[in-house]
């Protein structure tokens, strides 16, 4: 059943991805000042929101693990954080290819970009910590605490260009007076976001399957040792 839902999500994300590419390259109007390079927006911003959703999923799962000590929540947390890291990486990797032609620089250490990079390091730190601690109980508790700090980091990244003056543009969505998008740009952005959330769901299911296999292997190893 779980494999079936994972396959359905994967197929849906594949179809939606093709539609998103069509909308991004052939349907949405050209932005007046930046031209064609602005189309990076539809694949640069949604992964950031998906990474945020991954942190939220990881946070809820980690808190539930700390309360219940049920390892299924730890499985969900690690899966959400790892897949979220991939989306955060997409966001960070695409950004400089947009910045270079528009700002004339690849990167600048402003509040938004620096905090986004620190958040990416926090994702990486979580995954490194999981490999570094052998005891499953200590590992799960430590990683759950890291996710709580990571959630605070996520809020700082989101608010950075509202709280501080940054090279990174001020928010075009929900950014107050003068901000906003052409309605067709909104449709494509929202469709792209939906596509990436479905892709996130498919990858999350697959990643959770690995964690279940790993736990099954740990159980069998204990059986082998106890019977030896």
């Amino acid at each position: 059943m779980k494999n079936r839902s994972s396959a359905i999500l994967a197929a849906a994300s594949g179809v939606m991805l093709v539609i998103t590419l069509y909308l991004t390259f052939l349907w949405v109007p050209m932005e007046r000042t930046m031209g064609v390079v602005q189309r990076i927006f539809y694949f640069h911003v949604p992964p950031f929101f998906v990474a945020g959703a991954a942190i939220l999923a990881g946070l809820v799962a980690s808190i539930r693990f700390l309360i219940t000590r049920d390892y299924r929540f730890d499985d969900l947390a690690v899966s959400a954080i790892e897949v979220g890291w991939v989306f955060d990486s997409i966001n960070l990797v695409m950004g400089p290819f947009w910045a270079r032609p528009v700002w004339g620089i690849w990167w600048t250490w402003d509040a938004r970009l620096t905090s986004a990079f620190v958040l990416w390091l926090m994702f990486a730190g979580y995954l490194i910590l999981r490999r570094a601690v052998d005891d499953p109980s200590a590992r799960a508790v430590m990683c759950s605490v890291v996710v709580i700090f990571q959630a605070v980091g996520g809020v700082i990244v989101y608010m950075a260009n509202r709280w501080w003056r940054t090279q990174h543009p001020q928010p075009v969505m929900g950014g107050g007076q003068g901000s906003g998008l052409d309605p067709r740009m909104w449709y494509v952005f929202l469709f792209s976001l939906a596509t990436m959330l479905v892709l996130f769901g498919a990858l999350l299911q697959t990643r959770r399957r690995l964690e279940r296999l790993r736990r099954e292997i740990d159980g069998l190893r204990r059986t082998v040792h106890s019977e030896a």
């Binding site: 031209g35 064609v36 990076i40 991939v86 990797v93 947009w98 790993r214 082998v224």
Partner: protein
């Protein structure tokens, strides 16, 4: 305009490389875990038969 297409192409290529690399890593890890699971099951079965 052509210059801007170049950046668009680079950005999308980089994103696809990341996604494909992650899918490859997931599939490699899954097949490794399945192999390990099978060999452990076999080991336990053999031990119990002895």
């Amino acid at each position: 305009m052509e210059e801007n297409f170049k950046w668009l192409w680079y950005a999308f290529s980089a994103a696809w490389v990341l996604v494909v690399a992650y899918l490859f890593s997931l599939s490699r890890r899954e097949s490794k875990l399945r192999d390990e699971l099978e060999s452990l099951k076999l080991m336990i079965q053999e031990k119990r038969q002895k």
